[in-house]
C-alpha cells in the first residue's frame, strides 16, 4: 500500500463547557472527538459516517484547521500540520479544500460567480489577470457550466448548478484533498447523480483524494473506497468500503447498515434496533461508548475500552470482534 495522503493519528477535540462559579465542577468537557485515527489513501475516497453528534463534522473542521486540535496529529503527505502556521499553513490550506452542503450560503449573493471562483486564485497571487480569467473559464467548463456563467449572480443558478460552482471554486487551486461535507444532501435526486458523477470525473482527471462526510449510506457506499464509522466521537470500525458493507463487524455498523432503506419493496433487510437514546458526549459511558445501546453488551464492555481489532474484514473496536486467524 502506498503512503496515505492524509494520516490522522489519535485526534482529540474537547470543548470545555462555558462556566461560571455556579456551574458544573472542573473537568466538564464535551468529548467531541476522542482518539480518532484514520488515513485517506492517495487518489481514493474515504467515507466518514455516523449519526448526528458522532463528531464527523468536528473532525472535518479540525482537518480544515478551522478549529484547533486538543491533541493528536494530522499528517499531510508526511508532514505534521496540526500546529502549522504561516506559509506552512497556507500551503496546507491550498492543498486541502472543502465543499459544503449548502452552496447558497457559501456564495456571496452580490458577487458574480466568476469573481467568487477567482477569489482563491487572486489570493494565491501567482497568476496574471488574463491567466485568472482563462482559468475561471476552464474551471466552469470542467464542472459542466457555460463560460459566460462567470458574469451571473448566484441566484440565477439552480441548486445543482450552484454546487457545481462551489466545486469549481474548491478545485481552483488544484488541491490534492477535497473534504466533501454532505455535498448532495440539499439537492434533488436527479441532480444528486449528476454531481456525484462530476465528483468522480474530477477525481479521475486530477488524481484528487476525497474525504466524504454523509449520512446517506447509499451514497457513501457508491463513492468510497474506504470507510470510517464514528460513534460518540470515536471510531468504532474502519476498513475497505466493500468489505465493511458486505460484512460489518461492529454491532453499531451492523445496526447502521441494517437501517438503509430497501431498494425494492420485496427486500426487507433484517433490522437491528438500537436500544435507548444517544448518551451525552459530556459524560460518555465508561468502557465501550456504544455499550448502552448495544444488543450484545456484557460486563467487560463497561470496564474496558475495547481496542481496535483486525478482524480480517476491517478494524473494529469491539470486545467481541473476532481477530483474523494468524496466517
Amino acid at each position: 500500500m502506498t503512503a496515505p495522503l492524509l494520516d490522522v493519528v489519535r485526534l482529540k477535540k474537547h470543548y470545555p463547557l462555558p462556566g461560571g462559579m455556579f456551574r458544573r465542577g472542573p473537568g466538564s468537557v464535551v468529548h467531541a472527538v476522542e482518539d480518532v485515527s484514520f488515513q485517506v489513501p492517495s487518489g481514493g475516497t474515504l467515507g466518514l459516517i455516523g449519526e448526528s453528534g458522532c463528531g464527523k463534522s468536528t473532525t472535518a473542521k479540525l482537518l480544515l484547521r478551522l478549529e484547533d486540535v486538543s491533541d493528536g496529529a494530522i499528517r499531510f503527505d508526511g508532514t505534521e500540520v496540526q500546529r502549522a502556521t504561516g506559509p506552512q499553513l497556507r500551503a496546507y490550506r491550498r492543498n486541502v479544500q472543502a465543499v459544503f452542503q449548502d452552496p447558497y450560503s457559501s456564495l456571496s449573493p452580490r458577487r458574480r460567480i466568476g469573481d467568487a471562483i477567482a477569489e482563491p486564485l487572486i489570493a494565491a497571487g501567482e497568476l496574471t489577470k488574463e491567466q485568472i480569467s482563462e482559468r475561471v473559464a476552464e474551471l466552469l467548463r470542467v464542472v459542466g457550466l457555460r463560460e459566460d456563467a462567470a458574469n451571473l449572480y448566484p441566484h440565477e443558478f439552480s441548486g445543482g448548478q450552484r454546487q457545481r460552482i462551489a466545486i469549481a471554486r474548491g478545485i481552483a487551486l488544484r488541491p490534492r484533498l477535497v473534504i466533501l461535507d454532505e455535498p448532495v444532501s440539499a439537492l434533488d435526486v436527479s441532480i444528486r447523480a449528476q454531481i456525484l458523477n462530476l465528483l468522480q470525473d474530477l477525481q479521475e482527471r486530477y488524481g484528487l483524494s476525497y474525504l466524504l462526510i454523509s449520512h446517506d449510506l447509499d451514497i457513501v457506499s457508491h463513492m468510497c473506497t474506504d470507510v470510517v464509522v464514528m460513534y460518540l466521537g470515536r471510531v468504532v470500525e474502519a476498513g475497505s468500503m466493500k468489505a465493511v458493507r458486505r460484512s460489518p463487524q461492529h454491532p453499531y455498523t451492523k445496526a447502521l447498515f441494517s437501517s438503509v432503506l430497501p431498494a425494492h419493496p420485496d427486500r426487507r433487510p433484517e433490522r437491528i434496533k438500537l436500544l435507548g437514546p444517544l448518551p451525552s458526549p459530556i459524560n460518555p459511558p465508561s468502557g465501550c461508548v456504544f455499550r448502552t445501546r448495544c444488543p450484545h453488551a456484557q460486563a467487560i464492555c463497561a470496564e474496558q475500552v475495547p481496542a481496535s481489532v483486525d478482524t480480517g474484514v476491517s478494524r473494529a473496536a469491539c470486545h467481541f470482534a473476532t481477530p483474523a486467524a494468524v496466517s
Binding site: 448526528s52 434533488d188 447523480a193 447509499d218 457508491h222 447498515f257 437501517s259 430497501p262 431498494a263 425494492h264
Partner: protein, 345 residues
Amino acid sequence: MSKADAMAAKVLPLMPEPTPSEPLVEVRDLRIQLRSRDGARLLNVVNGVSFPLHRGRTLGIVGESGCGKSTTALALMGLLPGSARVAGGQVQFAGENLLAKSEKEMRELRGAKISMIFQDPMVALDPLFTIGDQLAEPLERHLKLSGAALRERQVSLLQAVSIPSPETRLGQYPHQMSGGMLQRVVGAIAIACNPALLIADEPTTALDPTAQAQFLDLLARLRDTYQLALIVVTHDFGVTARLCDDVLVMYAGSVVERGPVREIFDHPRHPYTQALLAAIPQAQEDRQGRLRTIEGQPPDLARLPQGCAFAPRCPNVRPKCHELPPPLREMGDGHVASCWRAGEV
C-alpha cells in the same frame, strides 16, 4: 400481534370501516394555481391529480422539489398558503367534498379526522410549551377530554409511539428531546384523536438513518393498528419501497405515473420514473460504476413547454412529445402513465 401493537390497540379502539370497498379518499382532477412571486402570473402548480385511497393502505407521492407533491398534501388539509388557490377538482373524504367546506368546517376535521406530519420535527413543536401541553391541545379541542381521562390518554399515546417513561416526557420541552423522539411525539399528536387519514410530508428526511428506519416502522405499525389511510410525500423511493402500497410520481405539477408499488419498481413506464429509479445508488450491490443521470435542469413552471413537460430532458423523445402533452393511459393492473411511448415495450 406484538407488544407494541397490543398497547396501541388498547389506546385507540379500531374504528369500524364503513364500506370497505369504497375508498376513504378520492381525489379527482385536483388543480391548484399559485400566484408567481411578482404577482403577474398564475402558475399551475398542481395540474389534474387524481387517486383513490382506502383505509389501511398507503400511497406514496414521489417527486422532486417543486413538483407539486407537498402542495397536493396541503390542499387535502385545507392549509394552502394565501398565494395559492384551488382551481378545480374534488377531494372526496368519507363521502364529502373537502374543497367545498368552509375554513370552520375544515378546522373541525383537521387533527380529528385528518392529520398531518411535517418534515422537520425540531421545529414542528412550539419550543415554549411542554410536550404534554401540545399533546393535550387536540384532545381538549376535538375529544373534550380533561383531568384524569386526558392524562391517561396522553400517556397511552406516548406509549403507542414507543416513547419510554411517558410521564416524565409529558413534562419536558421540545429542546430536551432528540429529533427521532420528537418526530414520535409529532406522530402521537397526529393520531391523538384517532384520525382516518394521516398525511406525512417527508416525515424522515430530517432524521438520521436509524431514527428514519424506526419512524417508518412506527408509521407502518400505526397504519396497520388503526387502519389509517396513509399518504407519504417523499423524494425517496426507499421510503415508498418500505411503506407504500401504491405510488404516484409527479413531475412539474402533473402525475406522470401511478400504480402498485411493485409495478412501479419492476415495470416503470414513464422515462422520468425510470430515470429516478436508476439514479439511486444501489447500496445492496457493490457497484462502483457511474450513476444514471437525468440531464438538464428541473422544470420552470413559468416556462413549461407546450407538449410533455419532461420532453426537454427525456432520452427517448419523439417529435410528437413536443406538440401535445400525453394523457394518462391505463397500462393494466391499476397502473397508469402519461407518456406517448408508454405502450411500447
